[in-house]
């Protein structure tokens, strides 16, 4: 009997682990990490097909993460969020803000009163994307003349004239600040890059590239952050660093349901939010398709010229 109870409790525990790893991830506002994708594709696919599957409307949370408000209950207000979303959609009707992720390569043109020709174009890799609502912003990094340059743009800034995705892909990590301490070739991108067009409906590819760090000193303690996109970190670590990394580890945090709950918007509220903006987002998609068709017709002319 005791054995049976122990066994059943074990089963419950393992189910809980499974549930936390898979299901809580699904409704998280944070971008999915790659490890889960690669490992679980074969396992989860048949299970999801049987029934439990997030509605299609919830998939917007990856492409439009800034439409979800800050989960801190002190700052929530339904009316404010509604007005904010309307303003965001109004801005998106004026300018096509494409889908992009941390690790994608973007070209941003802004109007700048001090620049020659009153506009400025910058190309770089997106190393961070954060903020909710109209405060949403992203940071681009590039190396120009052996000098690393980072520019932070507000996503809804009306001085932005054009946002173009040159290469749509994800990287192995949520934030790529370690490019600041890695060799410059990993964050160098030519300004005359041609946009790479993915086939329609294809999943966003994940670039499994691992960068090489420069020797110390570093800006942050990269070894403590469990980064997957660094290949040679071990050769710079001393015994002291390894010991402290072990001491600082928090392996229990992935089981902290409450922490996960506080970081995310509940599924019921998400469905409300996405239902509110669904129609207008679909209109934006249609407009984008129309303009992309136009682009395919015009592109041969430019090549000939």
């Amino acid at each position: 009997m005791a054995l049976a109870i122990r066994k059943s409790s074990n089963e419950v525990f393992s189910f809980a682990k499974w549930f936390i790893r898979r299901e809580c991830r699904v409704y998280s506002t944070l971008p999915e990490s790659v490890e889960e994708v690669t490992q679980q594709i074969e396992e989860t696919k048949p299970k999801r097909a049987t029934g439990r599957r997030a509605p299609k409307i919830l998939e917007y949370r990856h492409a439009y993460p800034e439409f979800l408000p800050d989960p801190n209950p002190k700052w929530r207000n339904t009316l404010r969020e509604k007005l904010e979303r309307q303003d965001m959609l109004n801005r998106r009707k004026q300018i096509d803000i494409p889908e992009f992720y941390v690790g994608s390569i973007l070209a941003v043109t802004i109007s700048d009163p001090h620049a020659q020709g009153k506009s400025n174009r910058f190309v770089g890799i997106c190393i961070e994307r954060k903020g909710c609502g109209l405060r949403a912003d992203f940071t681009l990094r590039n190396v120009v003349d052996h000098q690393g340059i980072e520019v932070r743009y507000d996503l809804y800034d009306p001085t932005i004239q054009k946002v173009q995705v040159l290469r749509l892909e994800k990287r192995l990590d949520d934030k790529l600040f370690y490019l600041r301490d890695s060799l410059p070739e990993y964050s160098t991108f030519p300004f005359d890059m041609d946009p790479e067009i993915l086939p329609e409906g294809a999943p966003v590819p994940v670039n499994p590239i691992q960068v090489k760090l420069k020797p110390r000193p570093w800006l942050e303690r990269w070894e403590r952050q469990e980064l997957k996109g660094i290949s040679n970190i071990e050769e710079y670590l001393k015994e002291k660093d390894r010991v402290r990394r072990e001491l600082r580890k928090t392996p229990w945090e992935k089981y902290d349901l409450m922490k996960d709950y506080r970081k995310t918007i509940p599924i019921e509220e998400q469905t409300e939010i996405w239902a509110d903006v669904n129609h207008q987002i679909q209109q934006l998609h249609l407009n984008r398709k129309k303009s992309s068709r136009k682009r395919t017709f015009t592109s041969p002319k430019t090549q000939l010229a």
Partner: protein
């Protein structure tokens, strides 16, 4: 004879009053604070009423009925009745509004500069009562000449309808007399008699205009008992170099000699926040007429998100109204554009900002 004399003496002694010897301290003692006489106790002890499910549903039904009727009721402010001959001048005091702070978000100016705005929602504001200057007799008056002048009346304004069963009967009575549901917030505004409004008049966000400056009175965020570094911005003391146990302490609080004591008003640890503060001269950038929301410049309005604040016309001499605002208030809500914008604000539905070459 002697006894009668003694009796007479006793009578005289008993008649002697000692009241004149008592030091009259009324000039130094403040009168005890009592709630103003127009106010009734609001909070009710919630008791179990043992209602059946049907009765509870019935009460809810009545409440919903009354709530639905409220917006359809015509405004009793008929502009013909209001004296049109009285014009606004710079000495008139209009009523204010009760608003709720609902958050901050950025907006951009037409020359591409980012500015943070605070959103204030004016929710179901109605005039509840007007007390003319002669009848208004408050308990505590700071300015003694005020009583002699008596030029301002008292206008009660309420905001946010609530369930009548959650408050006392006498509090509901304040609102029943004008056929309204009880309000969550009830506040008095001192107004000049010509800007008095009849009870039941709705007040909207359009009471103010875009580009006007307002004063906002609200309670600051309650931070509890705080040390001297957070409360007064002291530097504290060094973290190292042999300093022990005094990293966040104030240090010296007085000098010796003649001043060998702690002087009144010395900045010390204590309770921080939860105080009434007025932020003066806040510019209105945008007004939503459908939801009655004001966008104001800056994030310095006291209180956290959801705090109640009171909005007045500003008293700053350079930022006062130059021309007549909606007087006594903006009456009708029909035929208004959905939104008003200040001229410096870039609207999100406008095309991107470009700068022209000289």
């Amino acid at each position: 004879m002697a006894t009668s004399n003694i009796k007479l003496l006793c009578l005289n002694i008993s008649k002697m009053r000692i009241g004149s010897f008592i030091i009259n301290r009324s000039h130094s003692m403040k009168p005890r604070y009592r709630p103003p006489y127009w106010y009734e106790q609001k909070e009710r002890v919630i008791t179990e009423d043992f209602l059946t499910k049907d009765n509870e549903d019935f009460l809810q039904e009545i409440l919903q009925d009354r709530l639905q009727k409220l917006p359809t009721q015509d405004s009793p402010l008929i502009l013909d009745q209001v004296d049109q001959t009285v014009q606004w001048n710079q000495y008139t005091r209009r009523t204010g509004l009760i608003a709720r702070k609902i958050g901050n978000y950025p907006m951009w100016t037409k020359d591409g500069k980012r500015m943070l705005t605070t959103l204030l929602q004016v929710n179901d504001n109605h005039v509840i009562k007007y007390i003319p200057p002669d009848e208004f007799n408050p308990m505590i008056i700071k300015n003694k000449k005020w009583k002699e002048n008596k030029r301002l009346g008292c206008l009660l304004v309420g905001s946010e309808n609530i369930d009548p069963s959650m408050v006392t009967k006498q509090y509901c009575g304040l609102f029943n007399t004008i056929g309204m549901l009880p309000k969550r917030h009830l506040y008095r505004f001192m107004v000049s008699p010509e800007s008095a409004l009849p009870p039941g008049t709705p007040l909207f966000a359009t009471h103010f205009r875009v580009g006007d400056h307002i004063d906002v009175r609200a309670k600051t965020i309650d931070r509890g008992f705080q040390g001297v570094m957070k409360r007064w911005g002291f530097k504290g003391m060094p973290a190292s170099h042999g300093v022990t146990k005094t990293h966040r302490r104030p240090g010296n609080i007085g000098s010796g000699g003649e001043k060998a004591r702690v002087w009144p008003g010395t900045k010390m640890p204590g309770h921080m926040g939860n105080r009434w503060r007025v932020l003066r001269g806040v510019k209105i950038l945008r007004i939503d007429t459908k939801y009655n929301v004001l966008w104001t410049l800056g994030v310095a309005i006291p209180g956290e998100t959801g705090a109640t604040c009171y909005l007045y016309d500003t008293v700053l001499p350079l930022k006062k109204h130059k021309s007549s605002p909606p007087f006594p208030t903006h009456g009708t809500k029909e035929d208004l554009p959905p939104e008003f914008y200040d001229e410096i604000v870039h609207r999100f539905e406008q095309p991107s900002i470009t700068f022209e070459e000289d």
